[in-house]
């Protein structure tokens, strides 16, 4: 602990330090390569959300996980089901949730389970307002327990 030292700015060597000329070359190369990108046959994909996935109870309070999940789900599913344990499927298998049955009915993976087990409606409202921006750009079905 006594050996700690802060590095002075003039002593620091950056991992990547581009000059203006470097940046111009980078911009040019990126533009050329991006223009050519559509003709590249292989293009890696973003991670996919498994059908019937639901956020584990242990991660219910991790709003960063909820944000990540709803963002991915919004890209992939037509409708997000938002709510508490009823939507999440407490005491149910993943294959017995509302989202699963709706997907079975429509014969397509259209519904994502964005419920959170044990979530109070007010907490859920705040979570959606501040930490789930992706739901604004997709269709959402919301369920609230009126007694909550």
């Amino acid at each position: 602990m006594e050996s700690m030292q802060a590095t002075r700015p003039d002593q620091e060597r950056l991992a990547l330090n581009l000059s203006l000329r470097d940046w111009l070359v980078v911009a040019l190369l990126v533009l050329v390569l991006l223009a050519a990108a559509p003709s590249i046959p292989f293009r890696p994909r973003a991670p996919r959300v498994e059908r019937d996935y639901r956020i584990p109870f242990a991660l219910s309070s991790r709003y960063d996980v909820y944000r990540r999940y709803t963002t991915l789900a919004a890209d992939q599913f037509a409708t997000l089901l938002v709510g508490d344990s009823v939507v999440w499927g407490q005491c149910s298998l993943k294959t017995d949730t509302l989202a699963h049955h709706l997907n079975e009915l429509t014969k397509q993976p259209r519904f994502a389970n964005c419920g959170l087990d044990g979530m109070h409606p007010i907490a859920l409202a705040d979570l959606l307002e501040f930490h789930a921006p992706a739901i604004a750009r997709t269709r959402v079905l919301v369920q609230f327990d009126r007694s909550g």
Partner: protein
């Protein structure tokens, strides 16, 4: 507002040109302050009142303290304001829950109401920055700032207010007194830092996070290989996440002509735990050294007291990271490790004569092991993960192996960077620099998610 969002791009596109226009005038700090408050209010405007309140209290209390013969009293008032806010917003729930548990244990069946306020973003950082200012003035290391606007800008300067680096008054306030030297090279160098940070965060940390979240979300469902891979992944995720954030913060500040203190220096190449803490979250580590460890007596007392001081400092660091027993346990594990390695270093044992690579590997393994308790949701979960690592089966961990490539590149780079000689100069060659930048941008544009994930250290 996240650095890696379109919102921030628009925000900076407005703030930066106006800053260029005003930086030689007396309006510079006013503009920076306005921008910083807007940046913070984007998340929750109500909590802006908290920052303004603690800033006003500290400004006037510390100014009065400097001239008062009863300095200690005024210092206590400043500490009370900062630590009080921190205690209420960050620890009140943990405290009341544990007190209720204790009361129930001793047979008192009166439960206190459990408050659970929303944690203000960055509270652990801006309160620590304010505390360091008050203590520095108290010690006579820095004169009290007489200009409220400048002081308020120091507390809430937007690149570093949410997750650091924690800048000392002696480092940042003088930079706010004169026109910052904005130049083309400062801007391009800032942009380089920003790109590095963006890549670390979006391409590496967020991707690793998806694997880690899956395993640590339900560790009881996974076997040894998955738990081990997830723990190693988290070690790199948190490094890329936090160092990526500070790279972006420092890049933004540098483009505007300000130097923020370096916060990471290849921590996973550390050769002992003291070295690790001198490389990881450096500004916070130095804060704990200067305002906890040294006031406790540091290493000036006998061996027992030195060991005690190290241990208490690490426990305090654990509590600072989060209000839960798992963070305290994480701090305690590091405290024990620091004490053990310190004692071993006195023995001139075989351990201290080991090759550097072995020492580094040992530190990395220890730090990674400690991260289990940092990441686990509870102490019980952490212990269960450790047990399952050694007792469950060997099912396929389904780890995205491609991620080993960037991790290996970063690690190799850091090890080479620590060396002198021609290998180090390889990274300075223009085609290598440009090639790396092009690859990073293409990866960000084509492969990584378009979504913006929050930073892990925002939770603290």
């Amino acid at each position: 507002m996240l650095f890696h969002s379109v919102d921030f791009l628009v925000f900076f596109a407005i703030v930066f040109p106006v800053h260029l226009l005003l930086r030689r005038t007396r309006f510079m700090n006013g503009w920076l302050l306005l921008s910083s408050y807007f940046f913070y209010a984007w998340w929750n405007p109500v909590y802006l009142l908290l920052i303004i309140g603690t800033t006003l209290v500290d400004f006037y209390v510390v100014r009065t303290m400097e001239l008062s013969p009863r300095k200690k009293l005024w210092l206590c008032l400043s500490l009370l304001s900062n630590l009080g806010a921190l205690a209420f917003f960050k620890y009140i729930r943990f405290f009341t829950q544990n007190l209720n548990g204790l009361l129930s244990f001793v047979g008192v069946h009166t439960a206190l109401p459990v408050l659970d306020p929303v944690l203000p973003l960055g509270i652990s950082f801006f309160t620590f920055q304010s505390i360091s200012y008050a203590i520095d003035v108290y010690r006579g290391d820095f004169p009290a700032e007489q200009n409220l606007l400048r002081y308020a800008t120091y507390v809430s300067f937007f690149p570093q207010m949410i997750s650091g680096p924690i800048c000392r008054a002696g480092s940042l306030i003088p930079q706010l007194r004169s026109a910052p030297p904005v130049s083309v090279s400062a801007f391009t160098s800032g942009a380089s830092l920003f790109l590095t940070g963006l890549f670390k965060k979006v391409a590496l940390a967020d991707y690793l996070g998806m694997y880690v979240d899956r395993i640590y979300g339900a560790p009881e469902n996974f076997q040894s290989p998955a738990l081990i891979m997830a723990t190693f992944s988290f070690a790199w995720q948190i490094y890329f996440d936090f160092s990526g954030y500070t790279d972006m913060a420092r890049g933004v500040a540098r483009a505007m002509g300000f130097h923020l203190t370096r916060n990471f220096n290849a921590p996973y190449t550390a050769s002992d735990l003291g070295d690790f803490w001198g490389r990881w979250n450096i500004t916070v580590s130095m804060w704990f050294r200067d305002y906890v460890y040294i006031p406790l007596g540091g290493s000036r007392q006998d061996r027992f007291k030195t060991v005690r001081n190290v241990f208490l400092t690490m426990i305090t660091s654990g509590i600072w990271h989060g209000a839960s027993w798992s963070f305290i346990l994480w701090g305690a594990v590091h405290g024990i490790g620091r004490m053990a390695t310190r004692e071993l270093s006195f023995l001139n044992s075989a351990v201290s004569r080991m090759p550097l690579a072995v020492q580094r590997a040992g530190v990395f393994l220890f730090v990674t092991f400690a991260w289990i308790f940092f990441r686990a949701r509870s102490v019980g979960d952490g212990c269960m993960i450790v047990l399952r690592m050694f007792s469950s089966g060997w099912a396929d961990p389904r780890f995205p192996v491609i991620l080993l490539i960037p991790i290996a590149v970063v690690w190799t780079y850091q090890i080479i960077d620590a060396m002198e000689g021609p290998a180090r100069r390889f990274w300075d060659v223009a085609p290598v620099r440009i090639g790396l930048a092009v690859l990073m941008i293409l990866y960000l544009a084509l492969v990584s998610q378009s979504s913006a994930q929050t930073f892990i250290y925002f939770n603290f």
